[in-house]
Symmetry: C2
Subunit: 418 residues, 2 copies
Amino acid sequence: MDHAQLVDDLAARAAAASGRVAELSTDVKNAALRLVAGRLEEGTDALLEANRRDLDAARERGLEGPMLERLALDPQRIRAMAEGLRDVAALPDPVGEIESMRTRPSGLRVGRMRIPLGVILVIYESRPNVTADVGGLCLKSGNAIVLRGGSEAIHSNTAIAGVFRGALEECGITPDALQLVPRTDREIVDLLLDCEDQIDLVVPRGGEGLIRRVAARSRIPVIKHYKGVCHVYIDEHAEPKMARDIAVNSKCQRVSVCNSAETLLIHGAVAPTVGVEVLSALAAAGVELRGCERTRQVFPQALEASESDWSEEYLDMIMAVRVVDSMDQAVDHIRRYGSDHTETIVTQDISRGREFLRRVNSSSVMVNASTRFADGFEYGLGAEIGISTSKMHWFGPMGLEGLTSQKFIVLGDGTLRE
Amino acid sequence: MDHAQLVDDLAARAAAASGRVAELSTDVKNAALRLVAGRLEEGTDALLEANRRDLDAARERGLEGPMLERLALDPQRIRAMAEGLRDVAALPDPVGEIESMRTRPSGLRVGRMRIPLGVILVIYESRPNVTADVGGLCLKSGNAIVLRGGSEAIHSNTAIAGVFRGALEECGITPDALQLVPRTDREIVDLLLDCEDQIDLVVPRGGEGLIRRVAARSRIPVIKHYKGVCHVYIDEHAEPKMARDIAVNSKCQRVSVCNSAETLLIHGAVAPTVGVEVLSALAAAGVELRGCERTRQVFPQALEASESDWSEEYLDMIMAVRVVDSMDQAVDHIRRYGSDHTETIVTQDISRGREFLRRVNSSSVMVNASTRFADGFEYGLGAEIGISTSKMHWFGPMGLEGLTSQKFIVLGDGTLRE
């Protein structure tokens, strides 16, 4: 089969399966998720064996460190995958939920009912656990899924997808509800991104390069975030210890992820006091500080920031620092240089907190909390299929609800239009 | 200024304006909408004069009938525009609405707040009232708007947009919140569709050709529906008179619009009885019927339907008719040939009605009501900027809520991630 035939066949199967998955009852979906979880745990040895083949090949190609670490499975990670599926089974089923039925002057009752989107294509790199995680979210939300993992994880992904599909079949669900693309040639991705009649949504998960490539090529809507340039704003009414803790936690708790903070904004009135305390704590934690001129006046140890620092996603122990004169300036800075991901204000003044919440239109806006909380688990979405920093369809961490849409439902009694 | 400069300038102004419009209070927006309404009524003579220039030019170019009718303004239509704006002023403001704040195990309170999308580009033909209608919806939902009307209505649109912008300025709102593209060259549309960093959403309103052209070209998300192939399904438990009335009303009440019915499905058990009654009523109303073989067995006057009739949007006094054996067959037919617009079942059996509501995933699904009700006014959205038959972002008639998104808001108390 050539690439075009392979993609045609895959997309047609997914589209056909989506109609059936959409109609599954909550009980059947939950039973299937729990069965997949059990079968993954029982199949630990085989999964580890498949993973070993990927790891061997990766080492041969010279991969090391975090890349290898992301690829590796162990019994604990397999158990975590299974637990994740059981967690999703325990979440409420969004499909069929009815919202706000209202009676109209015509006598009609009008409301909206949640429905699945259809077919979701997930394109991802390295981590084989994604195969089960996103598979579970799509099944629970009544969608069919097409998975295209990276070549480095092909054996692990094939093994996990095989267990998933086997368990679906045991439950009487078509295994085409979850399909893994069996080849990893890039041409196949391009062909999939043309299937706008069969595939409803694309979720690329990986580096900015992968995401930009997918977004530029796709005729299908893409859920994406390119990067996270998250801000901590220390307001003039910030409590000093809280300011220190939130800045350090937002920056340092895990530097390599998109919801870690990259820029610190400090209100000028407290720059010499609270500001210096916060900067000292960051420096003591090992953070390289790159400040504006006013930052360096109060904290000379800071290096000089250049214009490009304001939009940099360091993903490292580096932080840009700017002193601002007002909430207005803080909001303007975030609008101009931010990535619409996550921003937090530290303040004891409730009205300032509310103003920040209202005026900053990033996907997560926080008061007195660490930016590190911006994810689907912490928000109670159960899990996340991705994060969207574009306002269309969904904004922020996206779980089951983001994988659905709403149709209008209308109840009449022979109601006619005059 | 060449086209590229014109578009750059326009898009940059819109993006700058969107930040300010997003922050307007409900009172200011409502006052502005009411002022625009008053100024349009006061300016009736000037608007009619501008419209006369468009009509003269259109007649010279040989336009006639419905085309000319759509283009024409009169004092009553101007009053209707003004009333439409006052209606939008009276609707609740979605911006700032907070949904479902929940406390998480971390102690954080997490919810979602409605925010504007940013900049909306509306591309439309003929009807100059669209200028005020969509302008009002975008202002109320806190969005900036770029309007690109057809060349045939350029004088009318310029006059209406001028009044709108003047009233905005009187209220201290930047007139860049509503910009009309001053030239109608098609190249300008192409350039606008490239402005993905400044424009957040495109709404094309017009024929299928226009919509397909925009969707194929745009890098910006598009709200679209290509056509409405709406179905009336007469279930075996349909009440005969209701079946007749709904079929005739859905088909004939206004044939030229997307929510009129094009296909009638009849359950085989009642084809010789209720089915024949319904077909007779349609024929008596002047509808040309094109039936499957079984239809023609019970109603020989029907012409023979060909395969292409099942997906045809006639927009005329013609209806395709098929006899089916079951709900399954009806649902399959709608999935295969439908356009995801609007479908209705006629039945006295509540469980059948619910099954239809649940299984048919079109943007509007009805029980015992005419398909003609599928629009924003009838659903209580106040007005509609368009109809979406794609499930992403919004599905069905789209009003103020569809012009917004939701950001996550998070309230902590110095909450840190461990």
